[in-house]
Every structure is written in C-alpha cells, then in structure tokens.
Symmetry: C2
Subunit: 289 residues, 2 copies
Amino acid sequence: MNTPTRIDQALKFAIASTEAETAPPLLAEAIRYSVFPGGARIRPRLCLAVASACGDDRPMLTDAAAASIELLHCASLAHDDLPCFDDAATRRGLPSVHKKYGEALAVLAGDALIVSAFEILAKASLAKPSRLPSLMMIVGQASGMPSGIAAGQGWESETKIDLEAYHQAKTGSLFAGATMAGAAAAGADFLQWREFGQRIGSAYQAADDIKDVVSPPDEIGKPVGQDAAHHRPSIVEDLGVEGAVDRLKDLIAGALAAIPDCPGKDPLRELIVAETKRFVPKGLSTQAA
Amino acid sequence: MNTPTRIDQALKFAIASTEAETAPPLLAEAIRYSVFPGGARIRPRLCLAVASACGDDRPMLTDAAAASIELLHCASLAHDDLPCFDDAATRRGLPSVHKKYGEALAVLAGDALIVSAFEILAKASLAKPSRLPSLMMIVGQASGMPSGIAAGQGWESETKIDLEAYHQAKTGSLFAGATMAGAAAAGADFLQWREFGQRIGSAYQAADDIKDVVSPPDEIGKPVGQDAAHHRPSIVEDLGVEGAVDRLKDLIAGALAAIPDCPGKDPLRELIVAETKRFVPKGLSTQAA
C-alpha cells in the first residue's frame, strides 16, 4: 500500500471511531471537516518514511503513529484559526472550522481530535503494549506543554518572546514528534531521530514564512501576510526574501546531514530531497532546489 | 497516605511536568490556575475509592488514573466557561480561566491539560505497560467523541437534543471513566464498574441541577440560574425542586445497588453514602440523606 493511501486509511479509521448514532451530529461533522480534505500530510508522510527506513515491523502501529501526529496537527489548526488566535476565515482554500461550524464546535473538534490522537495509539497497541508508553510520551511532548504545539501557540500571548523556544515548539516539536514516533513505532532508538525532525521542521517553518510573503492566496489556501498582520516573528522579516531562501537551502542540507544510520538511510535521503522541494514556493523553486 | 493528599500530589506532579524554564510563562500559570485550588475533587476520589475496593495493587498507576480524570475535568471547565460556551465569569469563587488570562490561554490551557492527562498515564506505565491500553481507552471514551465530555458539550450546539445521550456524555461519562479507571488501574474487570459510575454521575447531575436553582452563588462559587439562562435541560425544570430531590434519593440508592462484588465492597458502600451527602445543597440535606 502506498504512503498516501496508508495515511488516508489510518485517518479515516480514527475519524470513524469518533462517530456514532448517539454522537452530536454537528460536532461529528466539524471533526471530519477538520481532517478531510487534508493538506499535504507532510508530517505523517515523514513519520511513515522514518518507520520504513527503520524496518517498519509493525505497520499497524506505524499507521496509528502517523495518524496521531496528523490529528494533533489538525486540532492545532482548528484552534489556531479561532478569533482569539489568528482569526483566519479560510484554511486549505475552504472556510476555517469556526467559520463553518461556529467557535464552540471548533474548540470541541480540536479537543476531540487531541483525545483521538491518543486513543488510536492505544487501539493499535492492545495486543502488544510495549512500545505504547514511548509513543505516548513522544506525541505528548510534541503537542502539549512545556515544549509542544500548545506551548508554541502560548508564546504568542507573551509580550517578550523566546524566539528559539517559540519556533521549536510551534513547528519543530511536531516534526520531531513525527520522526521520533516513526522510529518508536518500528522499535528503533527514537531519540536519535529528534534532531533530524527538528531540522526538517525549521526548514518547513522558513518555507512557510517565505510563502506567507510571496505566494498568491489561492496557492496556499489561507490568507497571506499573516505573520506581519499578527506581528509574529518571521525569517523573511529578519533576512529578506533572498536571505531567507539561502537560509532554507542550508536548513535542508543540515536536515539531510542529520539522518541517523538506519537500514533504509539512502532511500530516506532521496525521499526527503524530493519532499522538501514541495516546501519552496513555485516561483522560487529553482533557487532552493 | 490519605486520599486528598494522594490526589493533590498526583496533580502537582502532573502540573510540574508541564512547566519548564523554556515554557511560555503565562500559559504555565493558566494551566496551574485551572487545576489549583480545585473543587471537591469528587471524580478522582471516586477513582481512588474503586481502586482501593479492588485491591489497589499498583498505587502509582491508580494515582495517575485519578489525576488523569481530574485533569480532563479541569480542561472541560476551562473550555466550558469560554464566551462561546457558557460565558461564565467565575468558577470556584474566582475569575474563570479566560477572565483571568484571556481566551487564547484558556483554550491552550485546556488543550495542554488533555495532553497531560494521557502523558501521566504513560509515565506511570513505563515499567509495566500491560494496563495502559485499557486505561487510555477508558479515559479517551470519557473525554472525547462520540460519547465523552466533548460530545456532551457538543450537544449544546444542536437544535434537537438527545437528552439521554447529552446527560450521559456531559456528566455520566467522566464518572463512569473514574470508576472504570480505578478498577483498570487495580487490574480488575473494569467493564463491571461502568454502570455504578454512570449512576453516580446521574445523581451528581441531578444534585447540580438542584443547586443551580436553590443555592446562593457564594456556596457553589459560580453563577446560579445558568441552566435556565442557557436553556439547558434540567431535572428541576422537569420535576420541580421537591420532585428533583426525590429523584436524587432514588438515583443514589440505585448507584449503591450497582456496586459490583469486590474485596472492599462494604467500605466502598459506606464511603459512597458519606460522599453523596455532599451532593445535596445545605438547606435540603435532611430530605435527601
């Protein structure tokens, strides 16, 4: 089964588990809407790629790990778009969750997705729970406090921002979670995989900052100029577009250099080279490739 | 160690894990504020009581289970008080989380508490993960969709409410989670404990509906008359105060009758009789006791 199909099936299984005849129908709809149709699914792709490079000896657990990471990402988007955060009206080219279902259901959809991210790990571990505690710790660290996505969003409420901690928590944490969860699902030494994930995350964040300035809104499916509008730190503000693209190239090279030794190191490297090309906005792709 | 101390220590350990020098300070404060000072801690008390009745052979795991249930409860309160839900300015006699820290940090505090509720189960299971999948499924079912607290809050966004599903999800689910988690932490057959928890939850909900009508605000630490103000279904609206108190007595008797056979059945029964006396507003206590 190819990677997009594996991810899609794992997410559909997770979402189906949140639905039942006795469930409130609008919230069930809002949850599904938060997850489908998705974006590039870049974090679960990364998770699967690392698991494959490490042998992927428990594919069901790998699928659950990848879906867990993506559900946490979808939850953070539903909350991050709320009026009290970014107040974004669109996401992935469609109305954001609260624009379509109201704020209450957007909050609850995020809550239920966080719960679901842990539930699917448990379901995939019923027979063999030995890898479950590590997976939960990885996923928890990537999403909660003191250094996960919630921490990253939390920095935006501070008057004095620790930039390093902010970027690492807001973006790096879930990428590091994706690589570590992939390794942990395959029974590998997952701590070795943290730095690679963090570096991929930094590259992705740089690419996102650049896109926020140079892309037409219909290409990225959400409002542009949000970093400036919300006074958020941005690599483009610091280095200019050209400097930011140079930095992005360095970050991608650094990430490739951080891939730990593993049975499938070469194919993983090739995959990452191909995947990171997606990071770069169309008009700038030749410069950074 | 007595029950309140066990719960307090387990919660302090959980909250300390969300704090670090690199964490955003206001969010860290908002998380602590969401959990301390607490209310009656009735759900974790129930969890510990059931675990004790079942032998409590892994007290560290029991403590984590009890804290997990309470963290999920605190998360739901932080979100339920938000302007898009109940818009409550006070809770436990103090400003609600969003009144003190703003909406963004109240949303994130809830999110981080949900994550933490699962993380502490993982931490307490690192050496022996055999009971972890069950505990996670119990806690997930109590808090997410299709039938946990999030589902219960979700019903409040529907025009046509399934009253049975609403009450069971909004209140019953976490009480059932508390009894089942206590049993599962002690290695007992936890499914046997669902009905007892649900019945205790129904009694608690009835008591809460009554308090919402008859109590002075300084006694319950939050605004009264909220059910009517938000057009929420209430047992008092259906049966009147006297009828509701009669119903409460029946519900408590039904809960006592649903305690499964276990080594500590008699002391548990006595404890529940004593605890449920707290459910009843002061002026009405002799009627329902």
